[in-house]
Structure formats: C-alpha cells, structure tokens
C-alpha cells in the first residue's frame, strides 16, 4: 500500500483551478491500477437544475478520474465515520445529541470541491462531515464526540459544536436557524475587507421557516453580501415532513427577490456545479439560495429511530435509487477508472483508518478539571472572572 499522501488540486475549471488551494487527501490512494489521471471527462447531472429568477448552470459537469476517486473516498470516509459514531453512541461512548449525516455526504463533498479554504462554511448541528470536508481529522472529531481533551473543541463543545478556524469552518450550532444571521455576518466581514471570498450558510428544511432567516436574507440582498444560503432539504424537520411545516416547500423560491436553484443533493457533480455557479454569482450579485434535495438515512438524531414518520420502504428506496456513493461508484466502474475489487479494497482501507482513529481517540483522556473555567473569557489583563463576584467555584471532582 502506498504510504505517501498525495497532494492534489481540484480541477473544476481552469479558472477555478488557479484559485483553489491544494488539499491534502485524508487517505493514500492505492498506487496499483487506479487511474489518477487528470484528463477531463464530461458527465450529465442526474436531473436538470430548477431555477428561480436566474438562468441555471449547464447540466454538463467536467470532472476527472482523480476527482471522482477522491469523491468516492471522501464520501466513504464520511459514511464510515457516521456509522461508527452510531455504534459509539449505542455503546454510550457518545452521549447527548448526535445528529448523523449519512446520505447527505454529496453536499459536503461537492461543495468543498467547488470552493477554497478561504471561503467560509457555517452550518447547524449536523456538522461532523462538514468538519471532515474542511480538513478536520478523524481523531479530533471522534475525540470531541467522546468529550476528550484532544477533541476539536477540547471536549467542551460536543457533537453540535465542531469548528475549524484555520479552514474557515464556523461550526457547529445547536439552535435552529441561529447560524443563518451569523453566516451573513461572516459574509459582511468578507465584503468589508474586500476578500473576494464567499460564505456558504447551511440550514435545513425545518430552519427554513425561521423568521431570522428572512431578516438576514433581506439584509444580505440589500447590501449585496457574498453569501450563499444552502437549504439541505432532507424533507423532514425532525419528525415533521416538509409539507406539514411549510406552506411552500419550494425552498429555492422562498427568497422571493433572491435567486435560487434546486439541486439534486445526492449527485455530487450537480452539487459541485451548483456551488461553483453560486460562488461566482454571489461575488457579482449578492445572495443566492441553493436548495439541495437530499436525504438522511438515520433519524433526526440518535434518539429518533427515523421510521415513525416515514416508511422503511422510502428509506430503502432512496438508498437503492439515489445513494451518492453508489452513484459515483457506478460512474467510476462504467468508465473503468478502477475495478470493483480496487474500490472494495479502498473501502476496507477506509474502515481500518476510521477504526484506528477511534482507537486513538479513545486513548485521549478527559479534559482536565481546570478546563471547566478556560475559554469563558479571552484572558485580558490576566483576569478570569466568571460570576458577578469574580469568584471561581472550584469543585473537586470525585
């Protein structure tokens, strides 16, 4: 097995290639047999884009064998991680809330392929895979889920609070919809400093009914902020189907004066195309809404079986017809970019890597008792104050 980690540049278009920062792939590509060619091929998206007040991008997406294999690998890492998190939760190593992303991987991976690490992403609580897509490593992700010291938020955030500042990943938010104005604020700062970057502001079909979203959208449109509002429409807001919560489930149209696109969120190439289009649009014209038609296989969170408000047939049907990883796999095999056995070996390798990361994360100790009081304030003048009386109530843990 090749031990070297390959550096590679995403080739979306020639222009974007110049702007894209190199990404380090999380796994070594098996050297033997797999095509890592960067010759472009063109693929049609599964369905055309639906559009609102804007001409949609072309259905023809350019990609390379290398990119497709990276998509396969990245999505497989995410899928494997979320399933592993499910087991860890059931073994009570992860507690509290755990919202899993399996089924929705194409949105995270396709988006990342279209942008650079200087662009910002902010999302709600279904954030594990966005963190991985932004370059977060598996060990710190699992350590955070288990509340350990080496977690990405030092064990103090938990599942809903993953952040990666150096990759412009702004988290990680538990209150539905509250991240939407934050994202517009980040875009405001990007415009203020003339950075030429954009913010992808993710929310769900449930959050789409929050008033603060429309408030933020109004301001973003008024001031032409470079923000892309991405509705990850998995059709259920916890246990409530979209048609029961929203008078108009055409989320891409709800921006009214703001243009929108509806994208097949299970098709990673369509996601990539739409995000690239949206980034160019946002830099020129201000906000745009992307509705990603996607699906989550798990329930809303680990406490939700996910089958009381939808049928098992529906879930199985989507898995059969639209699974994002299967789709990319079929594409790879059809073009002979790798053999079925090679992909199977990759999956085995990924499984091992995830298991190793979990083992390493388990070795990480719980945070030190003093961590209870760190990071409440940024320490100015050496002062630490917590209550009004400036007293720190130091408890001795058993």
């Amino acid at each position: 097995m090749a031990a070297a980690i390959l550096r590679r540049v995403t080739h979306t278009t020639a222009a974007a290639a110049a702007a894209a920062t190199p990404r380090v792939s999380p796994l070594p590509l098996l050297a033997r047999g797999i095509s890592d060619s960067t010759d472009t091929i063109t693929v049609e998206t599964s369905v055309p884009f639906m559009n609102h007040i804007v001409d949609p991008p072309s259905r023809s997406v350019t990609t390379t064998p290398h990119e497709l294999l990276t998509f396969f690998r990245d999505m497989s890492v995410m899928r494997r991680s979320e399933i592993a998190a499910d087991s860890l939760y059931k073994s009570k190593l992860i507690r509290g809330f755990c919202h899993l992303y399996d089924g929705q991987e194409a949105v995270a991976v396709g988006m990342e392929a279209a942008i650079t690490r200087r662009d910002a992403i902010i999302t709600a609580y279904r954030d594990h895979c966005l963190y991985l897509a932004r370059g977060g490593d598996l060990v710190s992700a699992f350590a955070e889920l288990m509340g350990r010291r080496d977690g990405c938020s030092r064990g103090k955030g938990g599942s809903m609070h993953f952040y990666k500042r150096d990759a412009n990943f702004f988290g990680g938010h538990g209150i539905v919809g509250a991240q939407v104005p934050l994202g517009c604020g980040i875009a405001f700062a990007q415009r203020y400093r003339k950075e030429g970057t954009v913010t992808f502001d993710l929310y769900g079909d449930g959050a789409a009914n929050q008033g603060q979203l429309f408030e933020a959208l109004n301001m973003a449109a008024l001031w032409k902020l470079p923000v892309i509002l991405v509705c990850e429409n998995n059709h259920y807001g916890m246990g409530t189907a979209e048609w029961k919560a929203s008078k108009s489930p055409a989320y891409y149209k709800r921006g009214d004066y703001v243009p929108g696109l509806k994208v097949d969120g299970m098709d990673v190439l369509a996601v990539k195309q739409a995000c690239k289009f949206a980034k160019d649009h946002a830099l020129e014209n201000g906000p745009i809404i992307l509705e990603m038609d996607t699906y989550r296989y798990h329930g809303h969170s680990m406490s939700d079986p996910g089958s009381t408000y939808r049928t098992r047939d529906e879930i199985a049907g989507i898995r059969q017809e639209r699974d994002p990883i299967e789709r990319v796999k079929k594409l790879i095999l059809a073009h002979d970019f790798a053999t079925a056995q090679e992909l199977k070996d990759m999956e085995k390798e990924i499984r091992k890597q995830v298991d190793d990361a979990i083992a390493k994360a388990k070795e990480s100790p719980m945070p030190d008792a003093s961590e209870l009081f760190t990071n409440v304030y940024v320490n100015d003048c050496g002062l630490e104050s917590f209550g009004v009386d400036r007293k720190v109530l130091r408890t001795v843990l058993p």
């Binding site: 910002a120 902010i122 977690g151 990405c152 938020s153 030092r154 064990g155 103090k156 955030g157 609070h161 952040y163 990666k164 500042r165 702004f170 988290g171 990680g172 938010h173 538990g174 209150i175 509250a178 939407v180 104005p181 934050l182 994202g183 517009c184 604020g185 980040i186 405001f188 700062a189 990007q190 415009r191 203020y192 400093r193 008033g211 603060q212 408030e215 933020a216 109004n218 301001m219 008024l222 001031w223 760190t374 990071n375 409440v376 304030y377 940024v378 100015d380 002062l383 104050s385 917590f386 209550g387 009004v388 009386d389 400036r390 007293k391």
Partner: protein
C-alpha cells in the same frame, strides 16, 4: 473608529439619521455607509450578524435603539455571543460591543422603559458595564471596543443630555472598576447609572442631617469590583444598594449575595437594597415616579441603617 478599521457600527438609524439619541451623529459622513450600517428593523438577525462579523475578525458595535428591543436578540446574545468562545474551545473570539439606552425615562411606557441588566446577568462569557457620566461614558465605550470579550454597555435614556467638560485626548477606563463618587465614613451606598444622581441628591440632604455617606458608582455590573466595594464596607460596615432594575433577580440581589459571601464579618447592619418595583412601568407620571427609587426613600433608608 479612526484608529482601527475593523471597528464598525450596526443599528437602526445609526447612519444618516445620526442615531435616535444622536450617539452616532456624523459618523456615517466620516466613515461611510458600510462602516456605519443602517439596518432594517431586525434585531435578532443583525445582532447575529454582528456576532458572525466578530468571529470573522471585525469589531462591531451593535446598537439596540432601546435596550428593550434586544430581547428579540436574546438567543444570539446568550448562545452565540456569550458562548461561542467556550464551545469552540477558544478558537473564535467575539469582540462585539452591544449597547443602547435603557432604563425608565419620562413616561415612555412599559415596553420602552426596560432594564435588561438583570436579564443578561447570568449569561456566561459576557461582560456588562453601565455608564453614568460623560466622562465615564467615553472611557468605558473605548474600553469596551478594545476588549476581546463581548461587552454589553448600558446607557440611560435620561442621561444623554448631561454636559460635562472631559479631556479631548484618548483615555480608557477599566471595565471592571467601580468609581468612588463621594468618600465617606458612615454608610456605603452602591449604585449605578441614573440612580447615581438620585443618590447624590439624597446625599446633600443626608449631609445636612449630619450623615457622611460614601457613594460608589459600581459601573461594572458583571463582574462586580469587590475590591473597591470591600474596602468601603470594611470602613463603614453598613451597605445600601440603590438600583433601577427590578427587585426580583436584579443586580442588587446578586450584589447582596456577593457581599454576604465575602464581607459578612464586616457588616454591622443588614444590607438594604432599594430597587424598582416589580411592575411594568406605568404611563401616568405619578405612578412612574413611584416605580423607581426617589431621593426621599434613599434618605429614609440611610437613617434606618445608621440607627
């Protein structure tokens, strides 16, 4: 704003209108529409935007046209502003200043006469200060903008017209320090914001009656300056707290607790706390006057404590 290009202002009518209490008058002409941003009436989201901009490296000053309107933004202030530094393990800081006029004015009605200092008190990660004079308003504002932590700066609707000669040059006051207004020997009177003036008016009467009150404007509502307060109590042994927020769950309630925890042995009398009544502020002027603490009550309280 001249010194640091990342300092910007968000709020309703802060730009071209100059601010409803003229606090930001002239700034839009000097710094432009993007740095002095007139927002639509959307407190929840523009406060959230301020927090997001703070995460991305700007230093927004967010104005609530009246502090009471910031109740709409409570989620953003509590969960995002106060907590993000902690939940991100220290990765993001939120150097925002949230400010605006609050307090009981002249017959503004219940919803426009709110005192939010007690509501925000428990939020971890926030700092709170209340200014009361032109001198400390300038110094505290500058300190708040420079602070890396989110600071809520409480101004008062009735204090904007105060005139005072203050230094032209830069000065920054300490956010955690209380102000000694009048040194004395008999009783420590702790107050903040507008009630400082009622206390000083009462002090004149008290001096005529032979009392020597020590008046401290606590300024820092979270955390309290227990150093200054403690030294005063060790001297006078008697404490009266005079505040404008409600009696229930107010600043005075926390201050009383803190004093009892820390300075019990120095007290010769129970701590008295005069606060506003637990009622919505009525419109009628006589009723409104009865809602807040008046100088006569302060005099009576001191006489009682010093018996």
């Amino acid at each position: 704003m001249k010194l640091d290009p990342t300092v910007c202002v968000f709020g309703e009518d802060v730009g071209h209108y100059g601010g409803s209490y003229k606090v930001t008058k002239g700034l839009a002409d000097m710094f432009g529409d993007l740095r002095v941003l007139d927002t639509p009436i959307a407190e929840n989201s523009f406060t959230g935007m301020g927090v997001g901009a703070g995460m991305k490296g700007l230093r927004p000053v967010v104005e609530g046209m009246n502090m009471g309107f910031l109740l709409l933004a409570y989620n953003q202030i509590s969960n995002n502003c106060g907590m993000l530094h902690y939940t991100s393990g220290g990765q993001f800081k939120i150097p925002v200043v949230i400010r605006g006029p609050g307090g009981v004015g002249r017959q503004l009605g219940a919803e426009h006469s709110q005192r939010l200092e007690s509501y925000f008190q428990s939020i971890p990660g926030l700092q709170m200060v209340a200014c009361s004079t032109p001198y400390n308003a300038k110094g505290l504002m500058k300190a708040a903008i420079r602070s890396e932590n989110p600071v809520v700066l409480f101004e008062h609707v009735l204090l904007y017209n105060l005139k005072e000669k203050i230094p032209d040059e830069e000065y920054v006051l300490c956010l955690e320090e209380a102000e000694m207004v009048r040194p004395g020997e008999h009783v420590t009177i702790l107050t903040y914001s507008r009630m400082r003036y009622h206390v000083m008016q009462a002090a004149k009467t008290l001096v005529d009656k032979g009392y020597d009150p020590e008046v401290i404007d606590i300024r820092s509502l979270k955390p309290f300056d227990l150093h200054t307060i403690g030294n005063s109590i060790k001297k006078t042994h008697r404490v009266l707290i005079v505040e404008e927020c409600m009696r229930t769950g107010g600043i005075g309630a926390s201050l009383r607790s803190a004093i009892i925890d820390n300075f019990w042995d120095y007290l010769d009398a129970p701590i008295m706390c005069l606060s506003s009544q637990d009622v919505p502020t009525p419109y009628a002027s006589t009723l409104e006057d009865a809602t807040v603490v008046q100088p006569a009550q302060i005099v009576a309280a001191v006489e009682q404590i010093c018996q």
